[in-house]
Symmetry: C2
Subunit: 348 residues, 2 copies
């Protein structure tokens, strides 16, 4: 059965669309009381990620409650290190913590590339279940972290403002860093292919910590892993979005890769991004998530300004980063409604 | 008596220099065993900041031990909120914590602009003492946080990856945010003028959290406070450096202000920065601090590449951000030696 709303797929492919599609990064999560109700009954965040029925339930919530144009799989980018043999804990108010990390040859021997169909079977089950329950209302987006971002966590062992441990490793032992980055890239490419086989309609790769690297190191240590992924996915038939948060200098490189869409954050002007990226890709973003703290009228005005800055077509409307947990869901609805009421024909 | 080494002042003013001057952000601090020896005897970080003899001792250490071309006052940007009535604690492994914060009109009544000659008398005493002990060997750099960065801490109450509380306030209550930002700017301008009167030879303003704002909000909420400062300092006779970390989009705005030098981090190519900033300002930076984890040979090569990227003159060599605490001081010496052995005449 065809999708009832395939707007986001058409926008990603540069086909004709009547208005921009809209979804929000972190739309399935703490902004919704219905999510918090599910979450509060559980032992922890990871139970939610690892239980297909629960992951399915919270994935569908924003589709039912907010009316977004796409669902995104509820999961975590850190399932990849775990599937490679490096488990993590999610500490409330702190974030992810890895009890053991990879910093030398001996550590490196602890991890391996596994078959995601087995090691991450619960993700594949969640995808099947979500696809069934979605009943083709909107497409389902699968995702993974970019290899550099996953490398950051596997070496640093936690979040960090500078990721200076990860960056120390690429400086002190670039050969080992490259091997680890290659392994993560292969595992991630396998994982994304498996997600496509399980039924996702679209994919996004998040390079959340791209901005801690300078242009030279980004090209040397972050870009090759992304290229591994784009090459493996290019014939999958599924549109791919790349989002390197904060890495303004990465845009020209990303624009040259085999992907459909480039995500931008709110520090980059959409008109500038279009100049750099050219006409051949769709752009995604980029309202400052803090603008959803404004009044409803201001949210509407900021959203319209954003739409005008992106211009007609080749745009997937979103925030410039994940929605903040203390955002009023009614403001999110105003953001979504403004986009869904917009008509290119009247505003081009 | 004139300064024996005034290279950094000449570089800031665009005068003729034989080589670039060099200093390091956070040069006085944990990289030096001699610093850790002083620090370990104390109850906490703030005792070091508030005791002129101790602040003087650690300010001089990098001049004596590393041979940098400038000293920078050992202090903290958070003395300003404290002098306005909002004290902070420095928690080991966590960073600064403010027991009370400014989030509404009632909170705002708790703070006021004070005379820094009195409220921050210990800083002025430290400056006098340092100037005496420096014996005119090198210039002394004074500094303050930019108003937006100080506002972030006063509203958020701690460090943050997103400063979404601070950004919520500028969205929800822009009028109150502007008043607080104006007060911080006035207090900071007074403070920097007092530092000049006490004897500093040069000033730097750190906008450490500039990058969390989009271009529009940066112009509206961060830039006005910086302009208050540049206007008050422009006739002081003391060169001023502005450093907005991560805010690539702020460079054109900063380039239009009454300052001598613009600092750039390692994510910005020096040649790009020169194009944006023009020939009328000195640039400061920008080696990736993680590059000091490389071998001595690589540190030398990276440093030479950086010098060549900046070109001849109007450059103050530095890292792109503070030196990381676990950096080998010998690598710092290699960085400094490479710059101090460089001759523009031979490399232009």
């Amino acid at each position: 059965m065809p999708l009832k709303n395939d707007l986001i797929l058409r926008a990603a492919r540069g086909e004709n669309v009547e208005r921009p599609p809209v979804w929000l990064m972190r739309q399935a999560g703490r902004i919704l009381p219905e999510y918090r109700a599910v979450r509060s009954k559980l032992s922890g965040f990871r139970e939610l990620v690892a239980t297909p029925e629960l992951a399915c339930e919270v994935t569908l919530q924003p589709v039912d409650l907010l009316g977004v144009d796409a669902a995104i799989l509820f999961s975590d980018i850190l399932v990849i290190p775990e599937a490679m043999g490096l488990p993590y804990e999610m500490k409330s108010g702190v974030g992810p913590i890895f009890p053991s990390v990879i910093r030398n040859e001996a550590d490196y021997k602890k991890i391996s590339i596994t078959d995601p169909r087995q090691s991450l079977d619960y993700v594949m089950e969640a995808i099947s279940l979500i696809k069934t329950k979605l009943e083709n209302r909107v497409p389902l987006i699968g995702f993974a972290g970019a290899p550099w971002t996953i490398f950051c966590y596997m070496t640093e062992g936690s979040g960090s403002k500078t990721f200076s441990v990860a960056r120390r490793m690429i400086m002190e032992n670039p050969a080992l860093a490259q091997r680890l980055l290659n392994d993560i890239a292969e595992m991630t490419a396998d994982y994304l292919v498996a997600q496509v086989e399980a039924g996702v309609d679209m994919l996004q790769v998040f390079d959340s910590w791209a901005a801690v690297l300078g242009p030279e190191e980004y090209k040397k240590f972050a870009l090759p892993g992304i290229i591994t992924i784009t090459e493996r996915l290019k014939d999958s038939g599924v549109p791919l979005t790349l989002f390197a948060k904060g890495a303004h200098h990465a845009l020209p490189d990303l624009a040259g890769l085999q992907c459909n869409t480039i995500g931008i954050d709110w520090t980059i002007d959409p008109r500038e991004a279009r100049k750099i990226v050219g006409e051949g890709k769709t752009l995604q973003g980029n309202l400052d998530p803090a603008k959803l703290y404004c009044s409803h009228d201001e949210v509407r005005n900021h959203t319209l300004s954003m739409l005008q800055a992106f211009g007609k077509g080749r745009h997937i409307a979103n925030l410039g980063h994940g929605v903040y947990p203390d955002t009023d869901p009614e403001k999110v609805k105003t953001f979504i409604d403004t986009i869904q009421s917009y008509k290119y024909a009247e505003n081009a």
